[in-house]
């Protein structure tokens, strides 16, 4: 337990946990809102939403083509978000894969439900909030789990988008502590030293704290995600 004491009293560990919690809360909320809002119109037929295919391709194209690391970094720098928690949240705020999964799920829902709602004079917002969202709870739970895990585990963006190590989220901080190698300054002797890791216990303690939330969250959501993945990904 000594090493846990040590870990929890380290100021940088605590701030990194705070930043991670912030990014998970902000990021997942934003992810899910945007996913639902984009998946609903894209799930409509061409007859009711004329440019559906065009818009769907605008979304999917971002999976197909990537501008590259340097342009991506420079764009974020130009927005002035570097060093703030928004840099970890906004660039990945639109999870296109999740949108595709959810829109396929939406299309599997019985058409009659929304039709009768429209006949009764409901608007799109009502149909989305009162019919689609409540019926998609298994899918939404799955996607929420994915988003939480993605945000909790992301380390690379923190490493390059935060200029000050004090602002690292937990995963980036763990990366520097556990893997802890700056490629610039690694000499052959260091590589040798890498082979004989020391201070195992404090590292293990931090690793354990790092995976704890995933371990706690995962069993509860497991029954949903198996259903959600199968429904969303393998159709016809």
């Amino acid at each position: 337990m000594q090493s846990y004491d040590y870990v929890f009293n380290k100021p940088q560990f605590l701030t990194s946990v705070t930043i991670t919690v912030q990014r998970v809360l902000l990021g997942v909320t934003l992810n899910m809102l945007l996913t639902i809002l984009a998946a609903y119109p894209l799930s409509k037929e061409r007859s009711s939403f004329r440019f559906r295919t065009l818009y769907a391709w605008i979304f999917v194209f971002t999976i197909l083509f990537y501008g590259g690391l340097i342009p991506w970094y420079m764009t974020i720098r130009a927005t002035g978000l570097l060093d703030s928690v928004w840099a970890l949240v906004l660039p990945g705020a639109v999870p296109v894969f999740n949108i595709v999964i959810l829109l396929n799920f939406f299309r599997g829902l019985p058409r009659e439900l929304e039709e009768s709602a429209f006949v009764d004079g409901a608007r799109h917002w009502t149909v989305l909030l009162k019919i689609f969202v409540p019926l998609s709870m298994p899918a939404l739970a799955t996607l929420t789990l994915f988003c939480v895990v993605t945000h909790w585990n992301s380390w690379f963006d923190g490493l390059i988008l935060m200029n000050h190590p004090e602002r690292y989220p937990l995963s980036s901080y763990l990366q520097t502590v556990v893997i802890g190698k700056d490629l610039n300054q690694l000499s052959p002797q260091d590589v040798l030293r890498l082979s004989e890791i020391s201070d195992r216990t404090s590292k293990s303690a931090q690793i354990f704290v790092g995976i704890l939330p995933v371990l706690l969250l995962y069993p509860f959501l497991q029954k949903y995600f198996v259903k959600g993945i199968v429904l969303g990904s393998v159709k016809g």
Binding site: T62, L64, G68, Y73, V178, S195, R200, K203
Partner: protein
């Protein structure tokens, strides 16, 4: 409803796409994109001349193919075996355990692996106790590094990949098994003649979709496990782009290599989706 999502995509995905201009410039951050000098295809010419890039591309393709082969064969075998377990509690227990590593990050897993595979780690102690041989530094040895990558990736992802295959097995008509049993087919025969053919459409689909990943050998994993001693076999396109761009500040070259990768990936993914559509009538949306 889509406006916020579209604006964010525009800012963080479409604007960077114009940044590929840097690939055709001798780029200085101080001058910016507007004032940096255009050099045409020079960065690409340079890229094709340094042997290091060819090595990196080759490593990427080999590692990706090894991972794909294992990543398809192993989950199929595991799901067939899981399907044979009749006790539901045991089966779901195993499933829970093997899905879990998918949710842990490579930072964590690499931390554990570095410790396990170090010269004084558990694996080497075991090898020493059983075979009495000298310790092997798996993560610093070019003979071993790729196998470490492939095996640890398999360990992380195999369980999660079985989800889709298990769903395919559940979809097989039970009467097929009943009539096979009446005809005297044993478990083994049933697996070969009913279960595997029943899974075939999904296997073909996933194998096809995988083709798009030929240039993705797993940045997160390699970055956290490799070191200069194994650049020869373990350095991949993405890690090279990172080092050239953000460590060595060769922005033009790094972006050129990135563009090269993006264009080839675009072609590969489009082909794989087209094939999947033709072969399995698969549609993205």
């Amino acid at each position: 409803m889509m406006v916020p999502a579209l604006l964010l995509l525009l800012t963080f995905c479409y604007v960077p796409m114009f940044g590929i201009i840097i690939a055709f410039q001798k780029f200085y951050p101080g001058l910016g994109i507007v004032h940096s000098k255009f050099v045409g295809w020079d960065n690409f010419k340079y890229m094709s001349e340094i042997p290091f890039i060819a090595q990196v591309v080759w490593n990427t393709i080999i590692i990706a193919f090894m991972k794909m082969a294992v990543g398809i064969a192993l989950p199929i075998a595991v799901s067939i075996l899981l399907n044979e377990i009749r006790m539901k509690l045991v089966r779901t227990g195993i499933q829970t355990l093997i899905y879990l590593p998918h949710f842990l990050s490579w930072v964590i897993l690499s931390g554990i692996l570095i410790d396990l595979l170090s010269t004084k780690g558990m694996i080497n102690q075991f090898i020493h106790a059983v075979f009495g041989s000298k310790p092997i530094f798996f993560l610093g040895d070019n003979h071993w590094f790729r196998f470490v990558l492939v095996l640890s990736d398999a360990w992380k992802e195999v369980g999660f990949s079985t989800i889709v295959y298990m769903a395919a097995i559940t979809g097989i008509n039970p009467s097929l098994y009943e009539s096979a049993m009446l005809d005297g087919a044993n478990r083994w025969k049933q697996a070969i003649h009913i279960t595997i053919p029943g899974m075939l459409p999904i296997i073909v689909l996933l194998a096809t979709l995988n083709l798009g990943n030929v240039l993705n050998a797993g940045f997160d994993q390699v970055f956290n496990l490799y070191n200069p001693a194994v650049y020869e076999t373990g350095d991949i396109v993405d890690t090279a782009i990172y080092r050239m761009g953000l460590v060595e500040m060769q922005y033009g070259l790094s972006t050129a290599v990135g563009l090269f990768k993006s264009v080839i990936s675009l072609l590969l993914i489009s082909t794989s989706y087209l094939l999947a559509y033709r072969l399995a009538n698969y549609r993205i949306f």
